[in-house]
């Protein structure tokens, strides 16, 4: 959007952030706002893309609050990177870990039945382009997400004169 003639960068090249906060329920909203605001720097994201990102972050950070540290707040780290026209997000914790990741990714699987639906990881996977879950029981969990603009051309459009 910005022109190169006024000394600003012609387009966003690369940017990143690191957020660290305790796994308090109030920080679920905080983290999804922060990541959505960061993602909005990439003009190509549509409002639906941003909503997808908002939901995915909400799910992953909620999981840390509920599952990683069931006995009280522990550290959550959220990292974001805009690179090569897409957004990468990493949510990590040093909590309880996941014994069986494959099972955790199954729709409706939950270790806390009741009002939990077992859909958070399924939503995150469906709404993002890539999702990788790495977990070591007793040490923690790292979830890596990639979101590409839904309307992105495969090749950058040629500049016409």
């Amino acid at each position: 959007m910005s022109g190169a003639t006024d000394g600003t960068h012609p387009r966003l090249q690369e940017n990143h952030f690191v957020l660290e906060f305790p796994s308090l329920p109030a920080n679920v909203a905080f983290s999804r706002y922060a990541v959505a605001a960061f993602a909005s720097q990439l003009d190509q994201f549509t409002l639906v893309d941003i909503e997808d990102i908002r939901i995915a972050v909400s799910e992953l950070v909620s999981n840390v609050v509920i599952h990683a540290y069931p006995d009280g707040p522990g550290p959550v780290r959220v990292e974001g990177r805009l690179r090569e026209g897409c957004l990468e997000i990493t949510v990590s914790d040093q909590g309880r870990g996941i014994a069986n990741v494959e099972q955790a990714l199954e729709p409706t699987f939950t270790t806390l039945p009741g009002e939990r639906m077992g859909l958070g990881l399924t939503f995150a996977r469906q709404l993002m382009d890539e999702m990788t879950v790495t977990s070591v029981p007793g040490e923690g969990t790292v979830v890596h997400l990639v979101k590409r603009p839904s309307a992105a051309p495969v090749q950058p459009p040629a500049v016409s004169s």
């Binding site: 109030a26 679920v28 909203a29 639906v48 909620s62 939990r116 639906m117 939503f123």
Partner: protein
């Protein structure tokens, strides 16, 4: 966040719960406690309408709270209807499949009184 109102209908009292704001891990428990509190005032009530027109965001915690109220209603032999899902909220409800079992209406007028027969409309 949760505004509760009792409406009398031919089928008995109907609880209309108008929810506003974002329904997530922090706010979803309110939905449960407020509605459970209201039910205890009218134990004979069998109908619940959740007006979600003021809800701007929902995730699986919010969906879980809504599904929990639905299950409670069914256990009481009653029914529940949803009203006024904003497009982004509707999308997540659809992704989860819960709209296949729950009635959803555009307005309170359409939802009240709850029809006895037939499924919900978009």
């Amino acid at each position: 966040m949760v505004n509760l109102e009792w409406v009398s209908t031919p089928a008995g009292p109907c609880l209309v719960a108008a929810i506003s704001g974002e329904l997530d891990l922090q706010t979803a428990p309110l939905l449960r406690t407020q509605i459970e509190g209201a039910w205890s005032q009218h134990p004979e009530a069998r109908q619940l309408i959740l007006d979600l027109s003021g809800v701007t965001f929902v995730d699986s915690s919010g969906l879980g709270a809504v599904l929990g109220r639905y299950r409670q209603c069914v256990l009481r032999g009653g029914r529940m209807a949803l009203v006024g899902l904003q497009p982004n909220v509707r999308r997540l409800f659809e992704l989860s499949g819960v709209l296949r079992i729950m009635e959803a209406y555009n307005s309170l007028d359409e939802a009240l009184p709850l029809p006895r027969e037939g499924g919900g409309r978009a």
